[in-house]
Symmetry: C2
């Protein structure tokens, strides 16, 4: 059978009802504050002002909520990626990706920790092909063929630096613009020499 369906559905094309979107927004906030395991369906329901049953009507399991939250966030990353991947030369594509990822991370600084370091999220990311593929594309573009330890450590440092810095208590009181300027300066320094 000849199909025009893509092998992988674009995450951006996933549509949710308003009720589902509300659940995901509340869940993301609670995940960020308490971790995925530390967040119960009761807490999500309370956050929405409804009962657990109402939440279960929209998502059959807690896992589905976690996955949907991840898909939502990775859809934004996918959009950035698609724009960057068609850019030439590659060095410009990389620069652009870096800029946009930092912007995205700063915009969503209250939430990056869940996506980057929650054990449940990490496991989901490793097991769920579409999410894994997005991550691989990001690193593929960032490393641009380089596979040596230097390049990989540099990319890992950058990823850790961007995500980890934003949630750090030392910079909690800094405004977005100051944070972006400094983060960009520092990541450029990491990147330019090794990337």
């Amino acid at each position: 059978m000849v199909s025009t369906e893509p092998a992988t559905v674009r995450l951006q094309s996933i549509r949710r009802s308003p009720a589902q979107a509300r659940i995901l927004a509340v869940a993301l906030n609670l995940f960020a504050e308490h971790g995925v395991s530390g967040t119960s369906l009761q807490m999500i329901a309370d956050g929405l002002g409804v009962t657990k049953a109402a939440v279960y009507h929209k998502f059959n399991t807690k896992s589905e909520i976690v996955l949907a939250v991840a898909e939502n966030e990775f859809a934004k990353l996918e959009a950035v990626l698609e724009t960057a991947e068609i850019l030439e030369p590659r060095v410009r594509a990389r620069e652009m990706l870096l800029l946009r990822v930092i912007d995205m991370a700063i915009e969503r600084r209250r939430w990056v920790s869940v996506l980057q370091s929650d054990p449940v999220m990490i496991r989901l990311l490793a097991d769920h092909e579409p999410l894994l593929r997005i991550t691989e594309r990001v690193y593929g573009l960032l490393l641009d063929g380089a596979t040596g330890p230097e390049a990989r450590v540099a990319a890992a440092v950058m990823s850790a630096a961007i995500g980890g810095t934003l949630v750090h208590p030392l910079v909690a009181d800094l405004d977005d613009e100051t944070l972006r300027r400094n983060l960009l300066r520092i990541t450029r320094r990491i990147f330019d020499v090794d990337g």
Copy 2:
């Protein structure tokens, strides 16, 4: 009453029975893998090959286990700190602290994520004075009086970079020595210009 007791007990002076130490070792491993909230006392008991009641005999609550795990780890940091703080000039003290923290983090790379980013741990760290004080001393020495955004972002990036890089999938297959060499090179680059 005149007392020779220090206002704060040194974390290194806390002694545990062998049974307690075994519990903490198993707990730390499970916390790293599943997060603190994702780890039950049943899992810890199973990991030890005993019943829950046996664990409860040594620690009255799960919180106590979490706190003891944190104290154990921070005691190592405290030891490094005490050695560094008496060094002169300050630039040497900072260099030494950085080196030893990186070594410590690499030695304990499977566990840094719990201490650095688990929501339960973060809350504990913010609420528990003795742990908070250790953290403040680390940043105090690292920043050495600097309070500007540049210095603070640099310190945050470094902290995030060290902890976050070690657990990153991109470097999961790299040996400790390669990791240390590259991490040191990169953190020096962040540090030397801003620190």
